[in-house]
């Protein structure tokens, strides 16, 4: 049986934990609002950009007329994975789910670029980690994307890898974030039936437009993954901290009950002592 002092101490520490988690929940909630707006607002841009890039691709696809981004070389059989996750934990199953995706990948044919401290360690254990970037704790800036795109270019255009894929978290709703795999490079061409055959005028020319368009598409897709990951992280943390706060409060309630019982017991014992003493004295 724990003493009342012990119980009081435990109640206090549980209360402190609930205060901390509550504060974290509030912070995540306020960050989430901005993150969610940013992630959802840029989605149409990326979709339209992708549709435009695909419609620009030449129909009579011969390898030498295509932009390098659109050619799948199948030379090395290797894939570059860009893993995007948060720097910090305390966000429920989000990171575990991401790591599970990472472990599914066959390591001998893969190299990795990780974003976020949590994934860095896992990436390092595969021995094929090319680069590791911090994710940051504020809304991702577009500038963060550029060095990653540089590495992707170096690896892909340099012929070190055949394909580039992104694994990040898709923000579906506040309650649901799922890992998603995006095929980044080579840009897949849609089959000709999907695209309406139109007489489209290109100004100045198709060849001049495509590189700029594809570069933009690449950068924006990576950036979009950043935004979605950031929104997902804050949503997951908000929910996790909400649960933690509730659990801490449950513990406080349980301990309070135990404490009350222990206190009552102590009082009863004391009264018993006094009364039995007085009875003993009286009988003398």
């Amino acid at each position: 049986m724990a003493t009342t002092l012990d119980l009081r101490r435990r109640i206090r520490s549980a209360q402190n934990i609930s205060k901390t988690t509550r504060a974290m929940q509030m912070i995540a909630a306020s960050k989430l609002r901005r993150a969610q707006e940013a992630a959802v607002a840029s989605r149409p841009y990326v979709t339209e950009l992708m549709a435009l890039s695909k419609s620009l691709a030449p129909k009579d696809a011969k390898a030498d007329t295509l932009h390098p981004y659109m050619v799948s070389k199948k030379a090395t059989g290797k894939t570059l994975y860009v893993f995007i996750g948060p720097d910090k934990g305390l966000c429920g199953g989000l990171i575990t789910n991401l790591i599970r995706e990472l472990l599914k990948v066959r390591h001998e044919n893969a190299s990795f670029v990780t974003v976020g401290k949590k994934l860095e360690n896992v990436g390092a254990s595969t021995k094929n980690l090319i680069a590791s970037f911090p994710f940051g704790t504020t809304l991702p800036k577009f500038g963060q994307v550029l060095p990653i795109v540089d590495i992707i270019n170096e690896q892909f255009l340099g012929g070190k890898v055949d394909t580039v894929k992104i694994i990040s978290t898709k923000f579906q709703s506040v309650f649901s974030q799922t890992p998603q795999l995006i095929d980044l490079l080579p840009v897949k061409l849609e089959t000709s039936e999907d695209i309406k055959e139109l007489d489209v005028l290109f100004e100045p020319s198709k060849e001049a437009l495509l590189p700029a368009l594809l570069k933009r598409y690449l950068e924006m897709t990576v950036y979009q993954s950043f935004l979605e990951s950031y929104a997902s992280y804050n949503a997951a943390q908000m929910i996790a901290m909400q649960n933690a706060t509730n659990n801490a409060k449950d513990i406080v309630n349980e301990l309070q009950l135990l404490y009350n019982k222990a206190r009552q017991e102590k009082i009863t014992k004391e009264i018993l002592d006094i009364s039995s003493a007085s009875v003993a004295l009286g009988s003398l």
Partner: protein
Amino acid sequence: MLHVQVVTPEKTLVDTEADEIIVPTSTGELAILPQHVALVTEVAPGVLTIKTKGKEETMAIDGGFVQVTDSLVRILADYAVTGSDISATKAQEAKDRAEKAMKEKKNDVEFAEAQAEFRKAILELKLAGRIKRHN
């Protein structure tokens, strides 16, 4: 009537019907009227004008792409801001700040960021000037 959409990474800025659209492109200003031929071209930094029933709406736009199909004009802009959101003083301040940041450039990334800010500020100033003249 034309349907016009201006989409930026931050948000879908415009999604309305219009009579005429004037887009700055890399080969000069381009006026798009209904029944325009299908076209894809690059947008140059400049002022975009959307005319609807005699009313004119202007916005500063910083690079991107424009796609014209049947009756839809879709402008994918890197950055865009509507005329009503611009205040000339704010734009001037932003320009000064960006200029200062470029002078104290620390590394390439920061310099590029400052340069982008600078370009945006100049664009906004240009648009603010045009609106002033108009009134």
